[in-house]
């Protein structure tokens, strides 16, 4: 059934290309990309984050992420820090929403406290990295407006303007690979002054469950500060069969310990 919908959308995207405005075409590509990733249900993955400053000095963080797919609303995710040692066990639980701000809780293992935190700070860096919170939250179609820019072979570039005025960007230029399930190949981020701020490239893609493309490496380069953050994903597991109970505040405390 999903395959049928997918091909229907594909026909809609390319069949009616001439009748559409760039906005309609952009939106349809974003929807096709979302559709191509529907049905993964839940996943777990280990992430090694390497921060590199402009002098080339590096520092590392290890985290584990669990994701639970929801279609009527945004996904739920649980992130646990395993290193550096002084923050080991610190964990966050996020309920993303298609509309409105996300709900987020932070677990502090030293005093076992769960704190509801504001998700207002979208543009701020995630743990000192070049990734902003908004770059790592689940990508919902409703969070942007779209404009088709160009298609070169199998690569399609779409401009995405964040709906939320608290976003740190005026626009993002996203390059999709339409032959590979509309996976993203590259994102360029333009800051509030509309100058190029960061470039994110995806590499070492693998196909899981014959449907879901996941990049093994995310490389975010800040073009203004010359700092860089690399995320390396290992041990993707789509068979964890997580349930909504694995994303409760009780589960957050259990994960952090």
């Amino acid at each position: 059934m999903k395959k049928i919908i997918l091909s229907f959308v594909a026909i809609a995207v390319f069949g009616s290309a001439f009748a559409q405005s760039p906005e309609e075409k952009g939106l349809e590509i974003a929807k096709a990309a979302e559709l191509a990733d529907i049905g993964f249900k839940s996943s777990t993955v280990n992430i090694k984050m390497t921060l590199k400053n402009k002098n080339g000095q590096t520092s590392e963080r290890l985290l584990t992420t669990k994701t639970f797919e929801l279609n009527e609303d945004g996904d739920k995710s649980l992130i646990v820090f395993n290193s550096p040692r002084d923050v080991k066990g610190t964990a966050t639980l996020t309920f993303t929403h298609k509309k409105g701000s996300d709900d987020q809780w932070l677990f502090l293992p030293s005093i076992k406290r769960v704190k509801r935190i504001s998700s207002n700070n979208k543009s701020g860096p995630f743990v000192g990295s070049e990734f902003a919170y908004e770059d790592l939250s689940s990508q919902e179609v409703e969070k942007y407006t779209y404009k088709f820019i160009e298609a070169k072979g199998n690569l399609i570039t779409v401009e995405q303007d964040p709906v939320d005025p608290k976003s740190g960007y005026t626009r993002r230029l996203v390059t999709y690979n339409k032959d590979k399930g509309y996976r993203m190949e590259k994102v360029e981020f333009y800051d509030r002054k509309n100058s190029l701020l960061k470039t994110l490239t995806y590499s070492e893609y693998k196909l899981y469950k014959n449907k879901f493309w996941r990049a093994g490496v995310f490389k975010m380069s800040n073009k203004q500060s010359n700092k860089q953050t690399t995320l390396e994903f290992t041990e993707y597991d789509f068979d964890a069969e997580l349930t909504e109970e694995d994303f409760s505040q009780t589960a957050l405390k259990r994960a952090g310990k």
Partner: protein
């Protein structure tokens, strides 16, 4: 009593290892073990002359926090241990504790915990009224955030639409420790832990219970709790001869905590009503935290916190927060070293007393952490029943931790 305690712990260990074995044989899943150790060197300096005889000014100290976890069934079952040992100039601050030693099992909507554990309730920053499950490790920290392990059976039932319910069975009470002769932050007469008695004939073996319901609805996080058992704070009574009679009363305490998260505003409230045979009182702390985030486009967050504190016990409130205002600021640099600073002041609205504080921390390299803490007692009013004993006890503390 010591023997009783040892028996209690060994029985618990036996049960836990039994559970572990039976679980092991059933599940073919892999077990994951982890051992960690934090070694902390600390130096506290009280820069004013001591008020009472025998009190020292400089306190170099060492602490070890070993941690061991074994989990299986993808983390749904585990045994967790956290120990703590402190060596200090003050013989009472030299102490050890089993912070946690418990077996945990989670299945679907429920979770069971058996053993010594730490549990935190509440939302506010300047005072933790609602938090009552664990005894405070009074000699360890001034802010009351360090806790002793509490023996318990905790059963949690989480639902999606009606929030979660926690049931606690607390079979054993732990007494609070007070500074020794050389220690600061004490009264002229030394309080001996052993000299403080119980109202209950069952003493520390009184079987206590607690329940908590907590839920989240959109911007609202709410918790309602009730505790019935030996109080965590001793009650001081004075007879006509002026002698102190200190004991742990049997209390009923109902607590409410509420946080409303709206954009960059966090509106917070905690309130309790406590009844005991000789004392009924109401206390509240309410306030707001607002964060200016990423103000330099480089991750700098500056939060401002304002909280009002009221305690009906007035001068008998052990932390002297009876009608006070807390103003503070949390500065987070969000840099690769996780540098953060919390500064604050508690201002008494009826008296001249003020307490200023600063807490700052930063990681060094990959496995070290440095912290600075200062508490400054300023213009402490002579009418203060408790704080007047601490008025010369302003201090600065430096600590450095290595994580193995």
């Amino acid at each position: 009593m010591k023997i009783k305690r040892v028996l209690f712990f060994s029985m618990f260990l036996l049960i836990v290892s039994g559970l572990h074995l039976s679980a092991q044989t059933k599940k073919k899943k892999k077990t994951v073990q982890e051992f960690e150790l934090e070694v902390e060197g600390e130096y506290r300096y009280f820069y004013k002359d001591a008020q009472f005889n025998g009190q020292k000014s400089q306190f170099p100290a060492l602490a070890f926090t070993p941690k061991y976890t074994v989990e299986w069934d993808k983390g749904r079952e585990s045994i967790n241990f956290t120990g703590f040992v402190r060596f200090d100039i003050d013989n009472k601050r030299s102490h050890w504790d089993v912070r946690e030693l418990y077996y945990q099992k989670a299945k679907g909507k429920w979770e069971l915990n058996i053993g010594l554990k730490k549990v935190y309730w509440g939302v506010t920053e300047s005072n933790h009224l609602v938090d009552i499950i664990n005894q405070t490790d009074q000699v360890e920290s001034f802010d009351g955030e360090e806790k002793l392990g509490q023996p318990m059976v905790q059963f949690t039932w989480s639902t999606e639409n009606f929030g979660s319910l926690d049931f606690f069975y607390l079979p054993y009470h732990r007494k609070r420790e007070f500074s020794g002769a050389k220690g600061r932050l004490r009264f002229p007469v030394l309080l001996e832990k052993e000299a403080i008695s119980y109202q209950s004939n069952a003493e520390e073996w009184r079987q206590d219970v607690a329940i908590r319901w907590s839920h989240y609805m959109g911007a609202f996080d709410v918790g309602v709790s009730h505790f019935y058992g030996n109080g965590r704070e001793p009650l001081f009574e004075f007879n006509q001869q002026g002698e102190i009679n200190a004991f742990y009363p049997v209390i009923n305490q109902t607590g409410v905590d509420l946080q409303v998260t709206h954009n960059a505003f966090l509106w917070k409230l905690e309130s309790i009503y406590r009844t005991a045979k000789t004392q009924d009182f109401f206390a509240i702390v309410a306030g707001v935290e607002y964060t200016f985030s990423n103000i330099d486009s480089n991750g700098l967050d500056i939060g401002v916190i304002g909280e009002y504190l009221y305690d009906e016990r007035d001068d008998l409130a052990l932390n002297s927060l009876q009608n006070d205002l807390f103003i503070g600021s949390r500065i987070a640099f969000n840099d690769t070293k996780d540098t953060s600073i919390l500064i604050g002041g508690i201002l008494d609205l009826e008296k001249t007393s003020k307490i200023f504080s600063i807490e700052a921390s930063r990681r060094i390299g990959t496995s070290w952490k440095a912290e600075i803490e200062a508490r400054i007692f300023n213009s402490i009013d002579n009418k203060e029943f408790i704080l007047t004993n601490f008025k010369e006890d302003s201090f600065v503390k430096f600590s450095i931790s290595k994580f193995f």
